[in-house]
């Protein structure tokens, strides 16, 4: 019996075909894995199923009946539940209070609390209804999200990268619960990039690549290598041509660094590496494995719990120190890299103004001239230097940030997803710019885009669960190998 059937789903966003005639089927009593690289279309597909997006083409059938899912409320009514990657609970309230909203009665009775508790127990996910949410670990909070979905009557459960926030023991508990649910006849969609987990928990797995379904297989019939090959495709990524230059001095040194995430858990667990002038070190890995926290720590924006970060010979503890030697193209453009209400000129000056000031005063004429040069050279499309930055398109904002961070020499450049959202031509330009900078600068590149990493890096470190699962020389790396490592499979370098 089929719980869900998605037929011919196509979804377009400006400039990208996120889902291309996707067929997906979820049976009763199965755990169905959804695999794919970043950008392959998994999240989009699930967002369509949960009513957040509407497909441009295609149909959805639930229990063999054609349905139109226009909002999450519709989805919930159909029995589709979603366990979000990061729990959405109100910290200052108790568990019971968070769940009380789901029931109509004015006061939550003891009996109802018992019902909730025994439901959770049934699946092996014990929860303490009287506890305050802020006291709970991320794993415990996720359990509440699962219970929340079940309380809303979910027969179909979507889990999007659920194990990102879990300890290994919590993963086991979760999987036990999922198996119990499956045996009851529920259907579970398990979106993940962690190959070992997919192989362990799923019954079938569908692989997406660039918006299309590449294969749907029985999990028992496949292995990590095949799955990676399907995800990544048989492709050869050509490294950009580069001159052989002698490596310069060490610019960035990361020594056994431990960093916590916002919820107090360990995001970076003992990373060490160095980057020298003249090389591009690429950090590959799916988002959520600690890259964000690592970069923030290097930039002085997050505390280092253990270990040291040294840039240009100085141990970094504040962003000010970092800025003495380094530039940073950030992941979070609108929140950090650009100030939407300020002018283009102000934004171009954001990290450069000190170089145009003397004794506290900014030489505005000089700065303005330089900004005009930047606009021309990097082809930033803007009505004027005085226009507020929110008027710029996404691509031009990326160009603005790139221009600002690469225009003046620096010893270290950190580039995080530098070509995200750019069109093909600009992407190529940006990558070539980075390559040119390599001569005088040490470059740390962080990207989820395998091609980008392979095209640019001289050395590659793959981050998985807060550690480097492997560090390779560029000529040892190919899409399959990287894909395996990103999926959690340690590969020996030959």
């Amino acid at each position: 019996m089929t719980l869900v059937r998605m037929v011919g789903i196509t979804k377009r966003f400006p400039g990208v075909l996120a889902n291309d005639s996707v067929n997906f089927e979820l049976r009763r009593g199965e755990v169905h894995g959804l695999l794919g690289e970043n950008g392959a279309g998994k999240t989009t597909l699930m967002n369509i199923l949960y009513g957040i997006y509407r497909p441009d083409e295609g149909e959805i059938y639930v229990d063999d009946r054609r349905v139109r899912i226009r909002s999450p409320r519709d989805a919930i009514r159909l029995g589709i539940g979603r366990v979000p990657q990061f729990p959405e609970l109100v910290d200052k309230l108790s568990v019971a209070e968070n769940l009380a909203v789901l029931f109509p009665e004015k006061i939550l009775s003891r009996r109802r609390l018992e019902e909730i508790r025994s439901l959770a127990e049934k699946y092996g996910l014990p929860i303490n209804v009287d506890a305050m949410v802020y006291e709970l670990s991320l794993g415990e909070r996720q359990r509440i999200e699962v219970v929340k979905a079940l309380l809303r009557g979910a027969r179909i459960l979507i889990l999007d990268e659920p194990t990102t926030v879990l300890t290994p023991k919590e993963v086991d508990t979760l999987f036990e619960a999922l198996r119990k649910m499956r045996d009851e006849g529920k259907g579970i969609i398990f979106v993940s990039h962690k190959l070992s987990e997919v192989l362990s928990i799923t019954d079938r797995v569908t692989v997406l690549r660039r918006g299309k379904v590449v294969a749907t297989l029985e999990t028992a019939d496949t292995d990590e290598e095949e799955l990676t090959r399907l995800m990544v495709g048989r492709r050869i990524v050509q490294r950009y041509e580069r001159r052989k230059i002698p490596l310069g001095e060490e610019v960035l040194r990361v020594e056994n660094v431990y960093v916590l995430n916002d919820k107090g858990g360990e995001a970076v667990r003992g990373i060490s590496f160095t980057v020298r002038r003249g090389e591009i070190f690429g950090i590959a890995g799916v988002a959520g494995n600690g890259q964000k926290e690592l970069i923030e720590a290097i930039a002085g924006l997050r505390r280092v719990e253990r270990g040291r970060i040294i840039v240009g010979g100085e141990e970094i503890r504040t962003p000010r120190q970092f800025r003495k030697y380094a530039s940073h193209i950030p992941d979070d453009r609108m929140g950090m890299g650009v100030l939407p209400s300020l002018s283009v000129l102000d934004n171009l000056s954001l990290t450069l103004y000190r170089r145009f000031s003397r004794m506290g005063m900014i030489d505005m004429d000089d700065l303005r001239r330089f900004a005009e040069k930047l606009v021309k050279r990097y082809k930033i499309v803007t009505p004027s230097l005085g226009a507020p930055a929110w008027q710029l398109s996404g691509g031009n904002i990326a160009r603005l940030i790139l221009a600002r961070e690469t225009a003046m020499g620096c010893r270290l450049l950190i580039a995080v997803h530098p070509t995200f959202g750019l069109d093909v031509a600009s992407t190529d330009e940006v990558r070539r710019t980075l390559l040119k900078l390599r001569d005088k600068t040490a470059i740390l590149l962080v990207s989820e885009d395998l091609d980008e990493i392979l095209q640019l890096s001289d050395r590659i470190g793959v981050m998985y669960r807060g550690r480097f699962i492997g560090v390779l020389e560029a000529d040892e790396a190919d899409p399959e190998r990287l894909g395996l490592m990103m999926g959690g499979v340690a590969v020996e370098s030959s």
């Binding site: 930039a299 962003p319 800025r323 950090m336 100030l339 209400s341 506290g360 005063m361």
Partner: protein, 353 residues
């Protein structure tokens, strides 16, 4: 509470919307006057004609001084993202220290006035730094703390004028002795305008403009007011910038207090008669000028016109003291509402399509 992204409206449209809002506010006040039995048209025309007279204009300029100083200081604080509701208290502390130096310090006469200015600035800055430090170190909401500091300051002043500083020659009235002539600020002949502070007030508008646009500190203030994350990303010391912004804001308000007490009253009296709501009105000055330093001169002039007009209405038409508050309140509300309509028009159009 950041400013929400707005459509870029041409300056003309912005001015027009503001004008409409002001008219709306005046209209609301007009209704109130009419209900009171006063002919609003008569009242307003009286205000206009009297302000154009010599005495009227000088009253406007007199009130302009503290409004401008408080307003421009608040622009700096608001730009840095700090909601300084405490200009009223910072004024009073400046006035208090001025009084202390004027009456109770045994120093050579010629040094009194310069010291008064110095301490007025420092005291105002210090009073503002207390809530600022609490915000930077403990993340305590500055709206509440600056508000509380206002009441602490006014209680302090009242304590002093009813108690230890009560004028020996003043027979039980709640004020201090008159200041020695050496600290009286010179006024323009025939008016109450203490012109040194007037000059300073106008000058600071341009100084602050210069600060915000052409100095590194000013740039850091503007960035910090938009986003703490972006400021830190750029290597800016966010906490230090906030403290500097508040210090400037408090200092200017303190200076306004010095002006009132050395230029007009020549003594310290009951708190509300010194600060007279200028600190709160300064918020309107800042808001009305959309945090533009140069435009603040116009807004301060306008608010001064309203204050003077309110005084006039009390004296000539027998309206009670609340008249100024009605003006201020209704204009501010109209400004808030009109500003939002400028922001939300496109949404309505989209829905119609």
């Amino acid at each position: 509470m950041k400013a929400v992204r707005e459509r870029v409206l041409p300056v003309v449209v912005k001015l027009f919307t503001k004008l409409l809002a002001i008219l709306l506010g005046l209209g609301i006040s007009a209704v109130v006057f009419a209900a009171y039995g006063v002919d609003p048209l008569y009242a307003y025309s009286l205000m206009v004609t009297k302000s154009l007279s010599f005495r009227g204009a000088s009253e406007v300029l007199t009130k302009f001084i503290p409004l401008q100083l408080c307003g421009i200081g608040l622009i700096v604080a608001f730009k840095s993202g700090m909601w300084n509701i405490g200009a009223e208290g910072q004024m009073l502390i400046g006035a208090t220290f001025a009084t202390w130096i004027a009456l109770f310090l045994d120093i050579p006469e010629f040094s009194r006035l310069p010291l008064i200015f110095l301490f007025g600035l420092a005291a105002g800055a210090g009073w503002a730094l207390i809530p600022a430090l609490l915000k930077v170190k403990f993340e305590v909401n500055e709206v509440i703390t600056t508000l509380m500091m206002n009441y602490i300051a006014s209680s302090l002043v009242n304590y002093l004028v009813y108690g230890p500083w009560k004028g020996a020659k003043e027979w039980g009235f709640p004020y201090t002795d008159k200041f020695p002539k050496s600290v009286w600020l010179p006024t323009i002949a025939g008016t109450r305008i203490h012109w040194p502070t007037l000059l300073i007030a106008v000058l600071t508008a341009f100084l602050i403009y210069f600060l915000l646009v052409k100095t590194t500190v000013g740039f850091e203030i503007r960035v910090s007011g938009q986003s703490k994350r972006a400021a830190e990303y750029a290597g800016i010391n966010y906490g230090r910038v906030l403290l500097i912004g508040m210090a400037i804001s408090g200092a200017l308000a303190g200076l306004a207090g010095v002006g009132e007490v050395c230029g007009i009253h020549h003594r310290l009296r009951y708190a509300s008669s010194i600060s007279s709501g200028y600190g709160y009105a300064g918020i309107i000055v800042a808001w009305l000028s959309e945090l533009n330093a140069v435009a603040s001169v116009l807004s301060a002039l306008f608010m001064a016109f309203l204050f003077a007009g309110g005084d006039l209405m009390q004296v000539s038409l027998g309206l009670p003291i609340g008249v100024v508050d009605v003006f201020n309140g209704s204009i501010l509300i109209s400004l808030l509402v009109s500003e939002a309509f400028g922001r939300y028009k496109p949404k309505w159009r989209l829905r119609l399509k």
